[in-house]
Structure formats: C-alpha cells, structure tokens
C-alpha cells in the first residue's frame, strides 16, 4: 500500500520518535510513505488565531501539492496537522468566498479529492488483522490507557471521526496488538495544550489529572496519537513529579511505538530512548513475555 | 413627461388564509397605502395558474404580485410549495417570451403581518412606477402579427 505523507513540523523535530516509529512499523507492514515534496507548515494554532485566510491557505497549499503529485490519500500523523488539513478542506468545499480568496492568494485552482487520514484511520486502512496476525509479543498483561486529546475527534461535524465524547477507535487498534485498553475517564480531557510554553503550571495541573486517572485505572502505559499530547504528558511529567514527589511514573508511548513493540521491532529504532519518562522498565517487562515467532 | 402622471396598475393574487387576512389586518390597523393595487382572492397560491399572470399583463397590468403563506405554513400543507416550484420555471419562461420577469413579484405574508403587507404593496407600486408602463404585451402582439402577404405563401 502507498500513502502520501505529511510529517509536519513536529515529526521532523520534537516528535522525531513518532516519525521514526511510524516509518519502522510501516516498513514492516509493507506500506510505503511518499513524503509530499515541498510541503510547508500547516498553520497549526498560530495561523487561525492570526488570519483566517492564512489558516486555510497554508493547508490548502499542501493539499494542492499532494494532488499535483498524484496522491489520493495522505496521512498526517500529527493531530493538529490532521485537524487543520480537514478543516481547510471543509471550508474550501463549503465557503465560496474563502475558496476564491485562497486560490487568488496561492495563484492556483483548488479541487477536492484528497482523503486525509490520521494515525488511527491509517491503521484502520492498513487493516487491524495485519497487526494482530503479526504480533510477536504477549501483551495480554499490558493495560493501556488510550488518550485521544482534543484535535483528533473535534469538531465532530467536520472531522466525522469517532465519537467526540467517548471515542473507541484507538482502543480497537490497541486490542489488535493484544494489549488491554482500560475504560478510563480522561480520554478526551484537555492536557493544557499550547499553554505548555507560557503557562506551564496549567499544563502540569491538567496533565496531572490525566496521569492520575490512568494510574487509577491500573494502566501501565498511556498511548497517544499526537505530539502535543505526548509532549505535555511525557516531557512535562518530569516537572509534575518534581512538584509532587512520591508520584508513580507512567510512560507515554505513541501508538506507532506500541504497535512496533508488539511486532517485535528494535526499541531503539522505534525511538523509545528519546523519551523523558524512561521506557526501559516497560520494555524490560515486555521482553519477558516475548513469544517465539 | 408622461411618466409623471403614470400610475402603475397592479394586480395582486393573494391566498385567502394568509395574505388576504394579513391585508385585512392592515385595513383594521388603518395602515395607509397607495391605491394602485387590486386584489384577487384565491384559496391558495397553489391555485394560481401561470396563465393568470400572463392574462393580467395582457389586460393592462404593469406589475403583478403573488402572495401567500410562508413555506410550511400553508393552510393546505403543500399548496405554496407547488406554487413556489411553478414560479421558478415560469420566471424563466417569461424572460424567454420577452416579458420582463422583474415586473412579477412574489412574497410570503402571513395573517399577522399587516405592516409587512403594506411595505410589500407600496414597494411593488414604487418599483413598477420607476419601470414605467408595461408595453411588452403590445409589442409582442405586433411582432407576432403575421402580415397578410405572408399568409398566402404558407
């Protein structure tokens, strides 16, 4: 299978392990990723706060490039990129005014036709049985809390992906690896998002509640599909622990990393040594459960 | 110069349950309006055959107004929907045959909208006054007149 690939800024930088693990897993599953040539920033949060037109034009440019380069489906692993691309598509389809202005700005015509996937729908496309049948490690004792964050499922009217209040698609993928998803309460609760920079204490406060609930429900690991989620739950966890001594640590994995581990791939190649909260104890406990091929 | 004295003749086809009653309300409220319009009562705008409108123009109307219940409020449930659909095509037909379709006006006036009725009627009268006398029909008649000599050749 072939998919167009839109890495976005995070996967090229701070979320390198997301990129690495995704590519490793897809290589194993015989799936090719073709990076969009000359892709630019999707606008993320900054563009839509500054200029409506820009927030549509930036993703539009990437969609136009993808179409020109013959792609039908593109995967945007970062939830924010996914969200901005989908919203831009929706606006270009439904708002004549915006479409005309965008085309004028970019000096190209826009036409629909690209299917934008997020990490979870990518694996749904590839087929969960492929993950299941290739599982090498026994995950039956692994309790996983699936954290969706906000941008994967909202606004529902535009994204039309899963249930915005009680989503379950990530749990299906996790089940395919053999692990046990826990039925916890904070799947879609806010982590603090971009307040991470200017108001870190807000992020610590909110993210701590998420970590607490996961731990309460006996999760061994929290799995995410978004670099922002990862950053707030993983990177900021260090400070959370510093300010609240005696807390248990809980590793935060990307969904692609979890799948990679289940497929028996090398943890270094999955970028698992690039985390703030040490993943070594988790990996060690899993290797005890390795099943012969 | 003639236009100064020109007073447009307006025929209004109104539905009994909504607009006619709304016009009654305008009367009860003593809301003054111009005298140019003559109302023809029908049970429902669904009753209005496009031929009526053409006939009105033929008989000297400078403008025609059709008014009924708001969509979804038709006393007969769906009559005004059928009317509305008819007008979409009829407008195009009018233009095609050379009758200025902008002289045909539609409105939805409910039984409680006396003030709105006055605004609609005055609006139509003023608008048609600006357009001037409707000569289209006379012109059409002239254009479609077959000269006697041509008949021999047929």
């Amino acid at each position: 299978m072939k998919f167009g690939y839109y890495p976005g800024c995070s996967l090229s930088g701070t979320a390198k392990e997301f990129d690495l693990s995704l590519k490793e897993v897809l290589k194993y599953l015989d799936t090719d990723l073709l990076e969009i040539n000359d892709w630019c920033c999707c606008g993320a949060s900054s563009a839509h706060s500054a200029s409506h037109l820009l927030s549509v034009a930036l993703p539009a440019r990437n969609l136009i490039l993808a179409k020109e380069q013959g792609m039908k489906e593109i995967v945007a692993p970062c939830a924010a990129c996914f969200n901005r691309l989908k919203v831009a598509q929706h606006e270009l389809q439904n708002d004549e005014h915006i479409r005309i202005n965008t085309e004028e700005l970019l000096d190209t015509k826009y036409s629909d036709g690209i299917n934008v996937l997020n990490l979870i729908s990518l694996f749904q496309q590839i087929g969960l049985e492929k993950i299941k049948s290739n599982a090498k490690v026994d995950f039956s004792k692994l309790n996983v809390a699936c954290y969706y964050g906000c941008l994967l499922v909202r606004p529902h009217d535009i994204l039309k992906f899963d249930d915005p209040e009680n989503p379950t698609t990530m749990e299906e993928v996790v089940k395919a690896t053999g692990a046990k998803p826990v039925d916890w309460n904070f799947k879609v609760e806010c982590c603090g998002a971009a307040h991470s920079i200017a108001h870190t204490e807000i992020v610590e406060n909110l993210s701590m509640k998420i970590l607490d609930d996961a731990i309460n429900y006996k999760a061994n690991v929290i799995v995410v599909a978004c670099p922002m989620c990862h950053s707030n739950l993983d990177m900021r966890q260090k400070n959370i622990i510093k300010h609240n001594p005696g807390r248990n640590k809980i590793p935060i994995l990307y969904l692609s990393q979890l799948i990679g581990l289940s497929l028996g791939l090398d943890h270094k190649k999955l970028g698992l040594d690039l985390h703030f909260i040490d993943t070594a104890p988790l990996i060690a406990s899993l290797s005890e459960n390795e099943v012969a091929v | 110069m003639e236009n100064e004295k020109f007073e447009p003749k307006i025929v209004a086809f109104v539905c009994n349950w909504c607009t006619y009653t709304g016009a009654d309300l305008a009367g009860t409220s003593r809301l003054k309006q111009q005298t140019n319009a003559r109302l023809i009562r029908v049970p429902c705008t669904g009753r209005i055959d496009p031929v009526f409108i053409i006939k009105a123009f033929e008989k000297g109307a400078d403008g025609v107004l059709v008014s009924g219940c708001h969509p979804n409020d038709c006393h007969y449930n769906t009559g005004n929907f059928h009317a509305r659909r008819r007008w979409i095509f009829f407008r195009q037909l009018l233009d095609f045959v050379g009758i200025d379709s902008s002289r045909l006006y539609f409105s939805w006036v409910s039984a409680s909208e006396g003030k709105k009725w006055v605004d609609v009627v005055d609006g139509v009268i003023n608008s048609v006054r600006k357009k001037g006398r409707f000569n289209g029909y006379k012109r059409l008649n002239k254009e479609t007149e077959i000269p006697v000599s041509a008949v021999d050749k047929l």
Binding site: N166, D213 | K9, R30, R38, P43, A56
Partner: protein
C-alpha cells in the same frame, strides 16, 4: 343573469372615503346589473331586508355586496340571500373597507378603486354556479389510539356523552407513563392514586371497548367513515376466562431473565407477567422470547395452576376490524435514551455523562421508579449500584433538549418542574442529604408552578446552580460531576453519589409509521402536526383525526388532559349530526376531457384524488380518469392549476371566474 349590487357605507367607515352613491350608480350601468343601491348598514336587519326585497322584486339571480371583508360577513349575506331563495354561492363580497376605505385617504382614487373592485366581482359572479353543500354520513363511534392519561380522558368524555369508543393500547395495561410516576407536580398527588380510578372507570364503562396489547395496523376511509384494522397481539391467555388471580405469575420459574419495562430496567419481571399490580386489564402476558415452554417445550407450570384453563399457548395474533367516525391519537412520548443521536449513529450522545456506563447515573423515569412506593426499592431512596442511600445527589436539566448539536432544539417543557419535584422528594426522604440542580433556565409557567420551584429552593434547601455539566466520571465509588456556576463565575465539582438526568421528551419510536398509516403530517422529530398552531391545536391536516397529549409536543398532565377533552369535543361535534355538511368549494373532474395523467393526484395534499374506471355498457374499461373524493378535498385548487387540460376545476374558483376578475380589474382605474 340578473345581478343586484348593494354598496354599504358601514356608517362612516366606508362612506367617509368612498363615495358610495357614485359607486352604486356606476354599478347600475354594468351589463347584467339590474339593481344597484347603497345603504348605511347592509349587515343590519333593515339592510338585509333591502337585499331580500330586491331579490324578490327584481327577480335577482345573484348578489354582489360591496362592504367589509368576506371574512367578516360572508356568512351573514349568504344566509340572507339563501333565505330569499338564491343559492348562497351566487353571493360575492367586494372588500371596500379593509382593502379600500380604511387604507386610503384620497376620495376620488379610492372611489375609482371601489368601483373596480365591485366590477371584478360582478364579472366573476356571472360565472358562478349554484353549489350544494356536500353531505357525508357519520359513523358515531370513536377510535382512541393510546391508553395513557390523554387517551383515557378522551375516551371517558366521548363515552359519557353517549357514544361508543374503541380504545387501543399497545402495552398489556393502560395507564401510560403516568402510571410509572411516583407523585405529580405541583400538588405532589400520588400519581397512581389519581390515575387508577380513571383506569377502572374505562375498564368498566359500558361504552368503551378496551383493546389492550394491540396496535393499529391499517386505516382506510375518511372523516365520518373510517375503517380501522387492529392487530390484537397474542397474550397466550384467553382474556374472557382469566380472572386476574395472579397464581400463574407467582408460579412462573423464569424470574430473573427479563428486565421490567415498567420499572425502566431497574428490576426484573417473570416471563409470565402483569406489568404492575394495578394493571388494567389485570390479565397477564407471556413473554415468548424468555418463556421456557416456547423455547424448549418444557414447563407449562402456569397452565397447570390455572383454575380456569385460560392459558393458551397456541394463541395467535388476531386482526380486528372496527368502523369509526373519528380518531383521536394519544400515543404519548418516550424519553431520549442517550444511546444514539437522531439521524447519526456515530455519536452516542452525551457519552460524557456516563449514562449506561455508570449504574448510578439514571434518567427521570428511573428516578420516579426509585421514588415510587411500588417500585424496585419500595420507595426508599437507594441508588442502583449498591442499594445505599445517596447523601449527595445531582440533577441535570436539559439533557438532549435545547441542544442542536447532540439532541433536539426544542424545550421539553416538563423537566424543570419534575426536577424540582424529584429534588423535593429526595429531600423529604433523605433529610440530611444534599441536592444540587444544574440548570440553564427555569421554565415554570403553569398555575402554581413557579411557587413549586421556589418551595424546593426555599423550604427544602435544594441548591440550584446555573450552568452546564461538562463531564461525569467515577472515582473511588463517587461520581465526580464537573460543571460550572455561571452566576458566580466559578467552576464547580461535586462528588455525588447519584446523578439524575432530565432527558428530552421525544416522539415514540413508531410514531412516523403511525402518522403515515393515518395520513397525518408530522414534524422532523416525529411529533404529529396540528392543523394550525394557534387556532387549531387539536385537529390535524386529515379531517376527522384529532390529537391529544404529548404525541403532538412535550406536554404536562394538566395540558394533556385539557387537550384530550378538546379532542373529544371535536369528535362530539362530528357526532352531533347524522350527516356531515361540508363547504362545496371542492374540485370536480370533467370525466370527458380527463386523460388520466394523474398529475392532480401527485400534488394533492389530502389524497383526495382517486382513480375511477369509466366502463362501457358491456363492462369493459374504456379509460381510467381522476375522481375527487369530495369528503376529503379541502379546496386548495392546486390540482386545477396543475392539470394540463384543466379537466379538474375548483368549484367557486374556476378559471373562468378568475379570468373574469382579471379582465375587469382596471376599467376605471
């Protein structure tokens, strides 16, 4: 035709702005007019006498009155002329008051307009035909669909007036949702105490035929003449033999499998069951899906213990036919169960409240069953999960109502009141408990309603918080309710023991199917539509079918009862005569010119156009033409405008009559 024109001054109302004598003399010159006069007050007795006299003396065939709006006095003048021997449909009125004198100032132009207006109607009346009111026989029996409080009220009203009623109820017992309630607002009357006497009255009434555990399958016919097919579902019990002793229910061994609908899933009931002890009729039903006999062929304990041999495992559904003249729809409502958003199955609606996930998050009817003395907890305030007394309870209003994105845009009307009631009931039973209500607005508009809510706040200490709840989750056995207090501007978090959701009142699952069976229009939520929201709240677009209660819109008990009596009154009006007389302004088909294209049928909103075979003397069908059922036709004329050959015409508003008006509209302008 000899036409008489009568111009009314209406005192000063017309006379001040329209020169009535001039109008009358102008009309005298119209061709066909043999008499024209003006008078101060045409509608008065002397005025009417003038008309009657002129009709006799001048041998008039038709009359045109130039006066007020026909909506005012059309009936008056029609009757006057009818008394003098002219068919009432040869009388037309020109509106010289509301449409002329009252809206203009300039006397000359108003007078010219008046002359034109009268002229138009004089020309029209030349094409009028005498019309005779249509007479349709009436079957003086009523069908009431739905045996809740609305259906019960309507049935009793009609039966007490002396007519027979067939009352159809789909559940094994009548009573509806009201029988599930613990107490009713604003009096806190015991619901079953005020309801059951009525239920018994219905059962014992000699003129009410109660057909329970049944549904309406098909309806044919029209007003005054409906033919209804009812499916009587198989109880597996012969109701003519059963005495309601209840032994079979006691002995039934399958006790824990099926959830009780009456107790809203909070308790189980046996396979052989009566929905509740005061059920009417008190005849049990076998739930064949869980009964051992129907699944494996074994058991038959019920049959063994029945002293009357009333158990009949072979019983099948029965189809019954009933002829009635009026139908009242009183099928009630159900509560939004927050498992699926309408139209879109992806969203599970309000998943963030944990309904269905957390046992102690319940809805309004479930709380009623918990509070009810005959409920699963015998009236003790115990929460479903561990049967302990909740010390902190949270009520959330507007769950699904007033919410376009996840629910319904309308207000369910009763929730503010019943939430206050629930909170009060809770406080009365748990004196040291804390009750919180999250609300957006308080809608307590009925009699004694606002005082009721104030009582909950001031006397019973219920804490009202204006704000919405964003999430409910479980932590250490408590339900954490996260909301906000918009009046104080702070976030609120309550560790509750139980949460009650006031979910939206929605239409029954099969309401659309029933609406289509009856040819009644319905809105996008499945509620049945009334004929006119202001002035015809209990009639529907179909003649002879009336509405009562919550099947039309969210409604409380007093309003439902009022509406039921109103619907009954409408039915009684119908039964007041042996024949139904209808305005003859209906469509009629010229069968000679009709080509049978049936475009008319497609646009008729009342299904009044039928197909009629025209046969020759040998009985061979020559052609099939359209035929208008004058009992159903409401006279809109859409068919007339649609017919390509103008074979169907609306009597009273035919093309000729309208052309006549158009041709003469600007004679004097």
């Amino acid at each position: 035709m000899r036409i008489g024109v009568f111009i009314c001054h209406c005192g000063e109302n017309i006379g001040r702005t329209v020169d009535c004598p001039s109008v009358a003399s102008a009309c005298a010159n119209f061709s066909g007019v043999v008499h024209a006069e003006d008078y101060k007050y045409m509608c008065s007795d002397p005025g009417q006498n003038l008309i009657k006299q002129a009709i006799k003396e001048k041998n008039l065939d038709a009359v045109v009155v130039g006066s007020c709006s026909p909506h005012m006095h059309e009936k008056t003048f029609r009757k006057a002329c009818s008394d003098a021997g002219i068919n009432p449909f040869l009388v037309e009125m020109a509106n010289l008051r509301e449409h002329c004198s009252w809206i203009h100032d300039d006397v000359p132009s108003a007078t010219r307009k008046a002359i034109d207006l009268v002229r138009m109607l004089v020309e029209k009346v030349k094409f009028n035909e005498p019309l005779i009111p249509i007479r349709v026989p009436v079957t003086k029996r009523a069908l009431v669909i739905g045996g809740g409080i609305s259906g019960i009220q309507a049935s009793l009203d009609i039966a007490n007036a002396g007519y027979e009623v067939v009352l159809v109820e789909k559940e094994p017992s009548i009573g509806g949702h009201m029988s599930q309630l613990s107490e009713t607002f604003p009096t806190l009357d015991c619901s079953q105490c005020i309801l059951t006497p009525r239920m018994v009255e219905v059962y014992q009434h000699p003129r009410i035929k109660l057909v329970s555990y049944s549904e309406v399958e098909n309806v044919e016919g029209f007003i005054g003449n409906f033919s209804v097919t009812i499916r009587k579902k198989a109880r597996s019990v012969k109701d003519e033999l059963c005495t309601g002793c209840g032994l079979c229910v006691q002995k039934c061994p399958i006790k824990k499998v099926a959830l009780s609908d009456f107790d809203e899933g909070l308790a189980t009931r046996p396979a052989m069951y009566v929905p509740f002890p005061q059920a009417v009729p008190n005849i049990p039903v076998i739930d064949r899906s869980v009964c051992t006999y129907f699944k494996t062929g074994k058991c038959q304990l019920c049959k063994k213990v029945c002293g009357r041999e009333a158990i009949d495992f072979e019983q099948q559904d029965q189809l019954i036919k009933e002829d009635v003249g009026a139908i009242i729809v009183a099928t009630g409502y159900k509560l939004y169960t927050i498992d699926k958003k309408p139209d879109e199955s992806m969203i599970k609606g309000y998943g963030e409240y944990g309904y269905g996930k957390f046992k102690d998050v319940v809805d309004g009817l479930q709380f009623e069953r918990i509070a009810s003395a005959s409920g699963p907890t015998s009236g003790e305030m115990l929460r479903p999960s561990d049967k302990t007394t909740p010390k902190k309870i949270v009520f959330i209003q507007c769950v699904g109502s007033r919410d376009e994105s996840k629910g319904f845009s309308y207000c369910s009307k009763i929730c503010c009141m019943y939430t206050a009631k629930h909170a009060m009931l809770y406080k009365h039973k748990v004196h040291d408990g804390e009750a919180y209500v999250f609300y957006m607005d308080i809608r307590a508009g009925g009699k004694n309603y606002d005082e009721f809510v104030r009582r909950a706040i001031e006397e019973d200490g219920v804490k009202y918080i204006r704000g919405r709840v964003s999430k409910i989750y479980e932590e250490n056995g408590k339900l954490i309710v996260k909301g906000e207090d918009t009046l104080a501007g702070v976030r609120v978090e309550i560790d509750a023991d139980m949460v009650v959701l006031a979910t939206a009142m929605i239409a029954q699952n099969d309401s659309v199917k029933l609406a289509q069976t009856l040819s009644v229009s319905y809105d996008k939520y499945g509620f049945f539509n009334e004929s006119h929201p202001k002035l015809k709240p209990v009639e529907t677009s179909t003649g002879g079918i009336f509405l009562a209660g919550a099947c039309n819109a969210p409604r409380d008990i007093p309003d439902s009862v009022s509406m039921a009596s109103a619907a009954a009154a409408k039915a009684l009006v119908l039964f007041g005569s042996d024949v139904l007389e209808r305005e003859p302004v209906v469509a009629k088909v010229n069968e000679a010119t009709c080509a049978g294209c049936f475009y008319c049928q497609k646009v008729c909103a009342y299904n009044a156009i039928e197909q009629k075979e025209i046969k020759d003397r040998q009985g061979n069908v020559i052609k099939v033409v359209a035929y208008v059922n004058s009992g159903l036709c409401q006279g809109c004329g859409t068919c007339n405008a649609t017919c390509p050959s103008k074979s169907v015409e609306l009597l009273g508003f035919k093309d000729d009559q309208i052309f006549a008006q158009i041709n003469s509209f600007a004679e004097v302008f």
